[in-house]
Structures are given as C-alpha cells and as structure tokens.
Amino acid sequence: MARLLFFGRLADRAGGRRRERSLGDDVLSVADLIAALAAEDAALGDALRDISVKYVVNETVVGVDYPIGDDDEIAFLPPASGG
C-alpha cells in the first residue's frame, strides 16, 4: 500500500491528511496517481495538478512523471508559507 500525504489546503480538499492506497498495475507514476484520484474526485484532481503543487516521493521533490510503487510515500504540497 502506498502512503499518500496531503498538506495545507490539499488536506481539506482530500478530506484528510493521509491515505493508504493500493496503486495497482495502472498507476506507475505520480501523473497516473493523480489521474486515478481525479477519476474519483475531479476537484481534487484539479487541485493536485495546479502548477504550484510540489510532489515529494520518499521525502524527495520529484517531477510528475516520477515512477512510484506500493512501497512509496507520495506527498502533495501546496505553496508553503512559513515565518
């Protein structure tokens, strides 16, 4: 089971900060995962595809084509604002 993490406003959109999900044979990249999530919740899909969102797999920032599997932690980060 892959671990999905949603931060900030994306957690509100996803209805929770974390989720587990079996990626199955069709989900091979971050882009595939977003497509699968969008198929269930179009608004969440749009939010995750926003240009300002960063994708972090196993604590490393990656591009949307980054390969993922069921052992991975995939995090979705909206624009951060500290200080």
Binding site: F7, D12, A75, P79, A80, S81, G82, G83
Partner: protein, 150 residues
C-alpha cells in the same frame, strides 16, 4: 540549530541560549515574528494553525541556513519555528544570526526571514470569527525573496 516547537516557546530565552552558545559574537541580529490579532479576512483572529512535514521541513530550513552561511561571514544561526495551534500574541518564529560584524548578521537574518516565508515547508490557516482561510505567501514575500537573486 533548527527547532520545530510543538508548543509555545519564549523568544527571550531563545536569545539567551543563543548568546550563551556563541559568546564571541560581536553582533547578533534576531527576529521574532508574532501572531497578529487581525486576520487577513478582516476578522478577529482566534487561532493560527501551522502544520509542517516532519523531517522534510527541517531539511528545507537547513538548506536556507546553508545558503546564508555560504553567502555571508556569519558564526551561527538559530531558528525556532512553531507548529500547532497558536493564539494571537504568541511567537511563530525566532531567528538569530551571530557574526563578527553587524552588516553580515543583518543581511543574513533578512535573507533567512525572506526565504522562511516562501521556501520553508509550513502551511498556515487562520481561524477567525469570520471563518477559516489558508494563507499563501503574499506577492511581497516572493518579491522580498527575489531580491537575493543577483
């Protein structure tokens, strides 16, 4: 030193600890950012809720500190950043920079604060008497950070 504080911290004590740990510094510049009473939605702020990404957030701050240490002749940097639910008046962030000379300390502190606003992985939501609002960096914050790209 980078500290994520899960509960209220005292900036004065943080400054005291910084001075004790860095007795040789000719100049120490510190910054304390506090929770304002007025929310961006115009209402009265009840709670500022800050979340972070444990481990990854600390590294995002460490990268900012490393950049400052490369760019200026500074002796030490200390950052304390709150997470959780904060009330108006509480400290959100403390930054201290020690250096042999004040200009380096000042510029490095300025730089660190600018980047904390835009690059450090925190997300904040204001809960006011009018509702809840996620806070994005303001345009000015990005402009401030961009000053350092020359």
């Amino acid at each position: 030193m980078i500290t994520i504080a899960e509960s209220a911290f005292d900036p004065a004590r943080a400054l005291e600890a910084f001075r004790a740990a860095n007795p040789g510094c000719g100049a120490i510049v510190s910054f304390v950012g506090g929770v304002r009473a007025r929310a961006y939605d115009g209402g009265s702020l009840e709670t500022l809720r800050l979340e972070h990404f444990p481990g990854v957030t600390e590294r995002s701050i460490a990268a900012i500190v490393d950049a400052a240490c490369t760019r200026w002749e500074i002796s030490a940097v200390s950052i304390v950043h709150r997470v959780g639910d904060l009330a108006p008046g509480e400290a959100v962030v403390f930054v201290a920079v020690g250096a042999p000379h004040r200009r380096a300390a000042l510029e490095a502190a300025d730089f660190v604060m600018d980047y904390l606003k835009t690059e450090a992985l925190f997300w904040k939501k204001e809960i006011s008497d009018r509702g809840e609002t996620w806070i994005d960096p303001r345009g000015d914050d990005y402009k401030d950070a961009a000053r350092w790209n020359d």
